[in-house]
Symmetry: C2
Subunit: 250 residues, 2 copies
DNA sequence: AAGTGGTCTAGACCACTCA
DNA sequence: GAGTGGTCTAGACCACTTA
């Protein structure tokens, strides 16, 4: 008697992955707990090594689990930082609103890791948006508790900021936006474009991302009151470390 | 003579994946082009099947390639929809700003796929935010050109909207926000919380997502002028189909 | 030293696509 | 019908972690 071929049962590795995911989402396995390893899955289910690996790979690529060399596969945690886009609108008037996701980083400050400030030829997109061919570029990486969570690249029209503190590591009180103000080009308006995708290998390396972790790309453009774009800031965020918040009125 | 063991060369599958990625990013392989298949990689590099598969899996999990059963592995494309968070601030005064990412969906309208409107007990988070235990829930899925790109779940305090058109499929002109206004609870303020992660299997199925595609989760809360939360809308977006745009003033 | 995940080989059968 | 990707077995050696 052969099995009914009618209903397409999912493959073994899927069923195993589904079971483990269930255990994680139900809380039966909790943050940091160890999942059954390759050897355990092999003997429990009578499957080959590659099949057990495939099951674990599903959870790893979903970002639910993290493999640790020579040790095991563990349940991953989500404790995001809250990043406020347009904060001022929110706080005073709408302070009673309750956030959906807990955030973990109150008080714990950013550390700026690596700073590079150079004058460069603008890339194609940067040149188009800032309407210039030469830019000053400020690159830096941010960490929280020693773990890198974001890196950012700001570009400024070179002729506009030449000789100003913006071309030097220490920009003084108020940062680059205050200095742009000194130069008569105070930012008055911002737009942020947000997307998400899987990281390129260099991004994964720079942010120490395990598999199954997307990056959020935020492209922020600053405009003067006259509508002139004066800064383009590309931020690459570890998606597992961030919740972005935007507030606005109807 | 054994090889120098000093520098950790990346494994074979990584080197192959790196080569293919390079070809994709450089434009040598373009949108929709076919990548060398498993058999081609095996013979070209003298490797086993599993190793060739592993190389292709890297690109697939990075969202750069999509496998097609019985056909091949193809370069993937990125043609996002632009979703405006706080549009009104932007258009009139800052219309001259140029967007970074092209968007593809001008004019092509959303299709609403599946609609479900039910009264339910509120989940834990929803109950906390809306401060109620019973809610009316509106679920729907949006498609563009027949491809699903988003689904959304809106919750309203049940006692507040009971008997109104919000509990029925056709909400009339202006939609649910206009009806909330009729009820004396016009939304005056919004906050959106944005995060990204890999999809759960049901999400991947509902949005028809290939591997390597994150979802963007947008949690939008609407408040009355009095600061009372009156709607909680959870949107799940195909990250490969969207760019979110937010505008705000300094 | 024992156990873990990371890489790799050499096979096999299947369902699917495409000409 | 030939070729493709999807699943699976049964081995192997390695680097790494943990005790």
């Amino acid at each position: 008697m052969s099995e009914s071929p009618v209903s397409h049962e999912p493959p073994i590795y899927r069923r195993i992955a589904d079971g483990l995911r269930e255990a994680i989402l139900s809380g039966e396995l909790r943050d940091g707990d160890r999942l059954p390893g390759e050897n355990a899955l092999m003997s429990q289910h009578g499957i080959a090594r590659a099949t057990a690996r495939q099951a674990l790979a599903v959870l790893i690529n979903e970002g639910l689990a993290v493999p640790k060399r020579g040790s095991g596969v563990y349940v991953r945690r989500f404790k995001p930082i809250r990043r406020h886009g347009s904060r001022r609108l929110a706080r005073d008037q709408w302070g009673q609103g309750r956030a959906i996701w807990e955030s973990d980083t109150r008080g714990r400050p950013y550390t700026v890791d690596a700073v590079e400030i150079v004058r460069e030829r603008a890339g194609e997109e940067v040149a188009r948006v800032l309407d210039t061919s030469e830019v000053w570029v400020r690159r830096r990486r941010y960490s929280v508790d020693g773990r890198p969570v974001q890196y950012a690249t700001s570009s400024f029209p070179a002729d506009l900021v030449e000789g100003s503190p913006i071309t030097r590591p220490d920009t003084g009180p108020g940062g680059v936006y205050a200095r742009l103000g000194d130069l008569g080009h105070a930012p008055a308006h911002f737009t942020e474009e947000v997307r998400a995708r899987m990281p390129m290998p260099e991004e994964a390396a720079a942010l120490n991302l395990p598999a199954g972790t997307p990056v959020i790309i935020v492209l922020r453009t600053a405009y003067t009151i006259g509508g002139k774009p004066i800064e383009l800031n590309e931020m690459v965020l570890d998606a597992a470390s961030y919740v972005l918040q935007y507030d606005f009125d109807a």
